[in-house]
Point group: C2
Chain length 450, copies 2
């Protein structure tokens, strides 16, 4: 068997390399909202290296907004011993086995369980494995998932703590039914893309003129929904909402987003005070932990819809939001929960309860990641894009080797193999904190001034 | 004004020093349960140093069970800039101001919010401030809290996201009423102590003989309640529960604890299968995030009570457990949530809903801390110890300068000023990981063997 690449057979993960990547976005007030006045969009970035001859790496990250990105990097490092030495082939054939090992680490589990810093670290590593698997398969992740065997997909889901709402049998039924018409939908997806909406006009830090200009631009760009940040000052919100509605007309949906600013009563009062401008949904009206609170808000603001999810910690809280009838729109985030495996569980829960999924995105690379999950959902689970849109924010895409491509308000289907998580090496070298070229110069300058 | 200690007037926090302290408890199977087979009880330990002439330090910690303690230490370090340079006097007069700043850090908030690693780090720092405040006041913390002005206590509580269940006015009413009869209860407390229960007999790793011997010893020691870990194997649990009931007789309460092992249906079936042995409560039957799940379990296992809380991430989840009628017993933990301030909120919520608080303790120093909160609750809020017990585990107390003292199954009231959080310097030097004397020798030995 001379010439057989033995390393391809026995390839192992050889390294889990981490990078503290931070972008100085706070200096432009991009991304400012009622709870996050000055985010520095950041990524606790991880690269899985192997000794396979193909040289393919798995990339993943947790998105943060600045301080604490070092803690997130340390958390990813704490998972290293579960990953290094594993067979690449086995890992890519069954990412769920690693997911279960990471979530089940009996000592690390104390730091969650399944929430916050440790759980997001698990998400970064698990997503990097899916990136590796899709690259090795030569497919974009959405396509790998959409054409995967339903039984195998079910095997990738952890039903612990959600079996009272979704059993493996339920999941299999949904996935089998979801495949009907897949090929036709794939053609539509490849031709048309997946609808997006844009938050770019609505950041709190922007002037009314900028808001109006960007809102009109959004409509011209083909978006049928925009979003405004609210919750800092009601008079301001009334004025901004009026300006936005005047800018986009009656047909365009305007979502509003309070970023958890309110208590339950405030959420109801404030939202109703904006009702005359016909907001489509109110997003994150209160704490993402408050299932019963969201249910009360929903009762209080109908017909305005209630949306949440970007800060929902795991499938168990999503399960309850659905069980309690607390939300009209479920907003997954690709880098908050425990990675693709947990997002499969969440997509299945949403399908079971018939609630549309409209992902959170923006930040660094969240658009790049989450489009794959929505496209899978469309092709092989929900089967529709009706009332479904992926958030789009036009920030920092230039740092990715396969950035999202928008066309007429739609995400075009990415064709590059993988999970679209890979950043340019030059970006990593420039924005690594504190020793990348940008930060080294910036911090030296700050020292000089001081 | 020669001789006036200026430093006492203008004293500042000068350092936030952290220590990664780990004890090799996994080698004895102490602390083993259905989800935590091999814990190495650990503390991410913090010392606040000041330039005050009194030389008093504030000590606090997060409890963990081994791996990841370094991540927890990094998280405490990420809070340092909020603390260093603050006025000691202002900080001790209003720990709530720091608590709000830490929880409200707009960038760090992304890593929670208010849950997991970052929130536990906040708890460690906030608790260290309360330790400093009580030491400077020359009082044990329970006494400082119990004699504090109700208005001031209310000012220490963050009502965000709980105001729909507990308003500041509600809190003030409860605290004013709670003070009636305080002096009489303080006499009782000083004479008799606060009732405890013991988990020492019931670890999963113990043989039936050891269980029986320790259960009888617990009764002889004056405890009226013991606890058994369950959930790994039903046949084993039936046998162990039978042995425990035989050992202690009919009058002693036996709580059982599944440490989140089950889904909702399993929890109901398993608990009911043990009902013939009259378990007092089933603790952590399922995920601590599953409010609706606990409510379903409670309906399914009555009259066995449902208890949870040691892994409940914050006041918002406790609020909902109470609103949903999901628990009979609320188990605070001194080092899981955001410190004393958040535990005040939780104690007030429990009082409002009339649910008894039976703290989780054990681990490293959790008994030392949480006794203060229960004693405050007895003296100045709930006014009773009926159906209230603090968990007691006889592990690792020797490392504290003011360890708990049990007498006839009761926690005696600590009289040493502070929050009882201070470890011996020798313990820190010995068990600091990986360079303390114990670990350096242990790791060198392991290397030699390998």
């Amino acid at each position: 068997m001379k010439g057989t690449p033995l390393t391809a057979i026995s390839a192992r993960i050889t390294a889990v390399d981490t990078y503290d990547i931070r972008f100085p976005t706070s200096r432009e007030l991009d991304g400012s909202d009622a709870m996050n006045p000055d985010p520095d969009y950041s990524a606790a970035y991880v690269v899985l290296r192997t000794d396979a001859v193909d040289g393919i790496e798995g990339h993943g990250f947790t998105f943060t907004i600045g301080r604490g990105n070092d803690v997130q990097v340390a958390a990813i490092g704490a998972l290293r011993h579960h990953v290094v030495g594993r067979s690449v082939q086995e890992l890519c054939a069954d990412p769920g086995s690693l997911s279960r090992d990471l979530i089940g680490d009996s000592q690390l589990r104390w730091l969650g369980p399944e929430k916050g810093v440790m759980h997001m670290a698990i998400g970064a590593v698990v997503n990097a494995v899916w990136d590796l698997a899709a690259k090795r398969a030569g497919q974009p992740l959405w396509q790998l998932l959409a054409h995967a065997d339903p039984e195998w997909l079910v095997s990738q889901v952890d039903f612990r703590y959600i079996a009272d709402a979704l059993t493996p049998e339920d999941a299999l039924t949904l996935l089998r039914k979801g495949r009907e018409g897949l090929d036709e939908r794939e053609t539509v997806l490849l031709n048309r893309g997946y609808p997006g909406y844009t938050t770019s006009p609505g950041w709190l830090g922007y002037s009314d003129d900028k808001l109006t200009r960007l809102a009109k631009q959004a409509v011209a760009d083909g978006f049928t929904q925009i979003k405004l940040k609210v919750g800092a000052d009601l008079d301001d919100d009334v004025r901004r909402m009026r300006a936005a509605r005047a800018a986009v007309g009656e047909e365009i949906r305007i979502a509003i987003d309070a970023n958890q600013r309110w208590n339950v009563d405030e959420a109801v009062e404030w939202t109703n005070a904006l009702a005359e401008f016909d907001p489509y949904w109110i997003e994150e009206p209160t704490s993402p932990d408050d299932i019963l609170g969201h249910a009360a808000v929903r009762r209080g603001v109908a017909p305005v819809k209630v949306a949440t999810g970007e800060h929902v910690q795991n499938r168990i809280v999503f399960k309850q939001l659905l069980q309690a009838g607390a939300i009209d729109v479920l907003q997954i985030d690709a880098a908050r929960v425990g990675g693709v495996n947990e997002n499969l569980a969440i997509l299945l829960l949403a399908a079971k309860f018939g609630v549309p999924v409209c992902p959170h995105a923006g930040g660094v690379g969240l658009c790049e990641l989450v489009q794959h999950l929505s496209m899978f959902d469309y092709l092989a689970l929900s089967g529709t894009t009706e009332n479904r849109v992926i958030e789009f924010v036009d920030h920092l895409h230039e740092h990715f080797t396969a950035p999202v491509v928008m066309r007429d308000g739609h995400y075009t289907a990415p064709l590059t193999p993988g999970f679209s998580a890979t950043m340019h090496a030059a970006s990593l070298a420039q924005y690594r904190y504190p020793d990348g070229t940008f930060w080294a110069a910036d911090l030296a300058g700050a020292e000089e001034v001081a």
